[in-house]
């Protein structure tokens, strides 16, 4: 198990290293960050000065080596735009992203798994048809538009919920979050629902498909023939086997919720990571883009790792396979 973890870690580091090279060359191809940063009215002398100040006068390979040596010292550099350490800026944005991801995750899971289960167990019932129709709508409506509709209905016409921004924060158990205040929660509802709707639709479909597949299998039929109570069949025999694909999807989706909530964050002016990425890309704020993508790469690798560990608990066959692989 340990050697498996180590192998995964080394693979991940290579991936991240390659990614940083791609980003460096990519941005170099796109253009000079100095031009995106300085006013178009600036004189040539000011432009030159800005290029020197940002360290862009050095050859690309040297800029890259500077970046690498900084990373080994734990320093990802300063943002071109804010001239503050990028790690500080990321850390300031992270709580907002995490709480939004958490709430929309809870909404999505608590709604979609029971619904998906029901739709899978009774695919013919009118309610199930309704669920599937809902999920189709959820998948096909653009998130941006859906967010705007939510704002117009709940924020402007009914005026019952705030339309954007993060609410008041409070500190509880050493964590500063807007989850602890009513105002904070009120601000969270619309963006969280906006993000959850799309995930819900996906999760309902995955759950339903898995349930339908598993409930046709021999051991379910056998259990039923044996006279096992229906409730027990669902919880012990079906749900356990359905979990595997669901966990896989969830692992990826949590990462997406945290790192790529760009659309929701833009519509609801939520101060999270996604908006930071977009605004950084617009002005080619290279240190910010690099740190951000390194962070998200680590996040996805970590989540995948957690998913793998969960597999071993859910499905003994996976554990056996990994251990066999580790002994080789």
């Amino acid at each position: 198990m340990l050697s498996y973890a180590l192998k995964r870690l080394v693979q991940s580091l290579i991936v991240i290293l390659l990614m940083t090279i791609v980003i460096f060359i990519g941005i170099w191809f796109i253009g000079n960050p100095a031009d995106a940063l300085i006013s178009p009215d600036a004189t040539m002398a000011e432009r030159e000065a800005a290029i020197v100040a940002l360290g862009l006068d050095k050859p690309l390979w040297q800029q890259y080596l500077d970046f690498l040596s900084g990373v080994f010292r734990g320093d990802f550099g300063n943002s071109f735009v804010y001239r503050a350490p990028v790690t500080e800026i990321l850390a300031a944005r992270l709580p907002a992203s995490l709480e939004l991801a958490f709430v929309s995750f809870v909404i999505a899971v608590s709604v979609s798994i029971p619904l998906g289960l029901y739709a899978g167990l009774r695919p013919q019932s009118p309610f199930s048809q309704g669920i599937m129709g809902f999920s189709l709508v959820g998948v096909s409506i653009p998130q941006f538009w859906q967010g705007m509709v939510l704002i117009i209905i709940f924020g402007i016409t009914l005026s019952v919920l705030p339309v954007g921004g993060r609410g008041e924060t409070a500190t509880f158990l050493g964590i500063t979050s807007s989850l602890w205040t009513w105002d904070g929660l009120a601000h969270l509802i619309l963006p969280a629902v906006n993000m959850a709707l799309l995930k819900m639709s996906l999760l309902i479909r995955v759950t339903r498909a898995a349930v339908m597949e598993v409930s046709r299998l021999d051991y379910v039929t056998f259990a039923r023939a044996k006279g096992v109570r229906k409730h027990r069949i669902v919880t012990h025999h079906i749900l356990r086997n359905v979990l595997l694909p669901i966990v896989t999807v969830l692992g990826i989706e949590i990462g997406n919720l945290i790192a790529y909530a760009v659309i929701t964050e833009t519509v609801f002016s939520w101060p999270g990571l996604g908006r930071l990425l977009i605004s950084s890309v617009q002005v080619l704020d290279r240190p910010m883009i690099l740190a951000y993508l390194c962070f998200t790469a680590m996040l996805f690798i970590f989540l995948n790792f957690i998913v793998d560990i969960l597999y071993t608990y859910i499905d003994p066959r996976v554990r056996d396979a990994i251990q066999a692989g580790g002994r080789k």
Partner: protein
Amino acid sequence: MSASRFIHVSLRGAMGALALALLPATVAAQTLNVGVAAEPTSVDPHFFRSGPNISLRENISDALVYNNQVNGEIEPRLATKWEVLDDSTWRFTLNPKAVFADGVPVAAADVIYSICRVRNVEGSPGAYISFVETIENVRPDGEGAVIVETQGPNPMLLQNLSAIGIVQSPSREPLAYDRENCGNSDWIATNLFNNATVRAGIGPYYVTEYRSGIQTVLERNPDYYGEAPYYERVVLHAIPENGSRIAALLSGRVDVIDAVPVNAIDQIADNPNLELISMPASRLIFFAFDQESEPTPKIRGTNGANPFKDVRVREAINLAVDRMQIVNTVMDGIAEPAASIVMSRVFGHNPDLEVLPYDPDRARQLLAEAGYPNGFDLTISAPNDRYRNDSEVAQAVTQMLAQVGLNVQLETLPQSVYFSRASNYEFSLFMGGASADSGEGLSQLLHLIHTRDSERGLGGSNRGRYSSEVVDRYLGEALVTLDEEARRKLLQQAQAEVYKDFGYLPLYHEVAVWAARSDIHFEPNAAQINILYTARPKN
């Protein structure tokens, strides 16, 4: 209909009552919430010369003088009066009532420190250096006065100084001014301004919290020497997405928004609770012709010749574009058709020049005379995220040029790519914008129509490399002419010249638009700066 309205009203009433019950009333009444399209990248007044930063500085860090962007007049700020001792020596009397956070009045040492710091902001991506370029020396002159000496006469000194916020020098001893670091190595770091450790000078407001991408919180400065602002607290919310900014205003989350998008104008105008506030802005939106490269990158079918070197072709293109139609349809009336570079309210405007007529027949004829009866292949270039409706305007221009027989295509690019390509001379006919950010026409003309000369920092935005000896002579003379009327005349003559040469394709001057709750008075500004200290409830 009436039932739903009733529900709507009663819900709104109930929520309002709830909100009142929960919130301490004073906080709600004294805070102004502003939704801004672009946030300042720093609180440091000398860090970065861009609209949002300049806008914040105007409210938190007074300069020696204030450049009233409405009619270009210079008003006193930290300096109560100023006099020109000789062509290159100016004396400023400082306001003894202007005190920093510690109660110490502004002194010559602070002025010297601030002007010197402009060159010494670590990591600043684009500073204010060109504003202090001509300053040769700054020295104290007795108690409460400072003398500024320029390299030769500089008629724009007051405008230049109006852009430099004065911060408090850490030491009372004045530095000995030089054009580098004034013998000082320890400058206030930018992040001390950002985390509110050090105030950015003396202003009607000061920043208590700056969180990039989220909000900037300003608190009223109780010791301010000028008129006290009405609102105790102002919160600038960064809401770059247009739809979200409008929604924030409609829902009452913010009281004022800036940069109202064109497609929301009607919606706000129809809403009785909201009001549009607009003012013609100095920024000219234009297309520049590449008048240097031969062949020019984006033109085909001319056997390698650059047709834009021919004044007849430039005239044809100028006549082929219907400016009125662009303003009325694409910009929904939120722009003013432009005849030349400097707009009507800015110093240096030439009232004799008229907006060129739309005359496609004459344009075709001119093209034929120039040897292009069948036109040529042209790709025009424009940014798609820099100016209001930039790509839509470029599309309209593309179609108009196609109608006079050119085979035109359009490429639009995000600004991060666009401007570096434009600076590399990769375009032939390309969109640009330039404002009179010093509040008068000379700097705008120097940037746009002076021959490009990077050594002297002239023609910085003249990427099409229009070049005319006559224009250069007029502008060169204006640079050293202190007499206002004579200088105005020179600026007008320079513009008449570029008008005659069809050196540019000027389209329109932008109109800056804000939207606010109709019970709030908000002051518009031609430089598109958010002036927060005069905002107050009406009555």
